[in-house]
């Protein structure tokens, strides 16, 4: 696609690694706060972890089979937090810092990872033949449509995150150039940065769960 190429952008890599490091530190910090003894009184961090697990079980994985939901929970939490922090990284007051998710390579990479996982979970729950038979449903002659649907679904999964985050960033930049340079970008950052970043991270995770459930159930 012409100018949108597989370019190595050091800023994106650096911010992505920074987000990974921040998440690793967060998880280590939470892990240290958990008591070793399961019968110990509930600490604040343990309560927070339990609340977060409940939230993801109910809101994101709600309706999934309990066995599948248990296996998906760590993936879903990690995916949501990674995309969320990547979206929010763009509004940090660091010069040149951009959201890694406004780079097409990052979002399509994440979408391809989810696409690969749909096959992993599909094969795990139904076996190779059972999983491949899913492409012949509801009718065998719909096989080409199912294959094209896979490609389009994965591409639009990546494009959606990319377009929303890049669109918000462009709009904020244009508005800041056109109108008051301080107040308007602050308000727009609040909506497009924090609000849209949260909504799009949730949408990305919900769609990933929906795609995996479609093949694994």
């Amino acid at each position: 696609m012409g100018g949108i190429e597989l370019a190595f952008d050091p800023v994106v890599v650096a911010v992505g690694l920074g987000v990974t490091a921040a998440l690793a530190l967060l998880f280590l910090w939470v892990r240290r706060g958990l008591p070793r003894d399961p019968d110990a009184p509930l600490s604040r961090r343990a309560a927070a972890v339990a609340w977060a697990a409940d939230f993801f079980q109910d809101q994101v994985l709600g309706g999934a089979a309990p066995a599948l939901a248990g296996r998906l929970l760590p993936l879903v939490v990690a995916l949501f937090l990674y995309v969320l922090l990547c979206n929010w990284a763009g509004i940090l007051p660091i010069p040149y810092a951009v959201s890694p998710t406004q780079n097409l390579n990052v979002t399509v990479g994440l979408a391809l990872m989810v696409y690969g996982l749909t096959h992993v979970y599909g094969v795990r729950s139904k076996g190779v033949l059972g999983h491949l038979k899913g492409y012949l449903e509801p009718f065998p002659f719909l096989l080409p449509l199912n294959v094209v649907g896979d490609v389009g679904r994965t591409l639009s999964h990546g494009f959606r995150l990319f377009g929303n985050i890049l669109g918000g960033a462009l709009l904020t930049a244009v508005m800041g150039r056109l109108f008051a340079p301080v107040v308007v970008p602050a308000a727009l950052n609040l909506w497009f940065g924090l609000g849209m970043g949260l909504i799009q991270a949730l949408v990305f995770t919900l769609l990933a769960v929906a795609y995996i459930r479609a093949t694994a159930e």
Binding site: M1, V60, S156, F159, R160, F162, I199, L202, V203, L206
Partner: protein, 80 residues
């Protein structure tokens, strides 16, 4: 007239038209989805969280064509 200038002008015009027309469909679609979700939530408030989750997914799918037009507009502006 310089043909390159004409191409430049057509590029900006095309990007504007692409985004403007491309935003109509998702806007109408998301409005319909939101209206019906509100209807359902008003009828059954206890279903609100389930409905909200489904509504967000439906919104994201309705938005897809708008995102495609954004990508096309960006390609027109920065690649062509």
């Amino acid at each position: 007239m310089d043909p390159q200038a004409l191409v430049e002008a057509a590029k900006y015009l095309a990007a504007g038209i692409c985004m403007g027309i491309g935003a109509i469909g998702p806007g109408v679609g998301e409005g319909i989805i939101g209206a019906h979700a509100l209807d359902a939530m008003a009828r059954q408030p206890e279903m609100a969280t389930t409905l909200l989750r489904t509504m967000v997914i439906a919104d994201a799918i309705a938005e897809t064509t708008g995102i495609y037009s954004l990508v096309v507009a960006l390609v027109l502006l920065f690649v062509v």
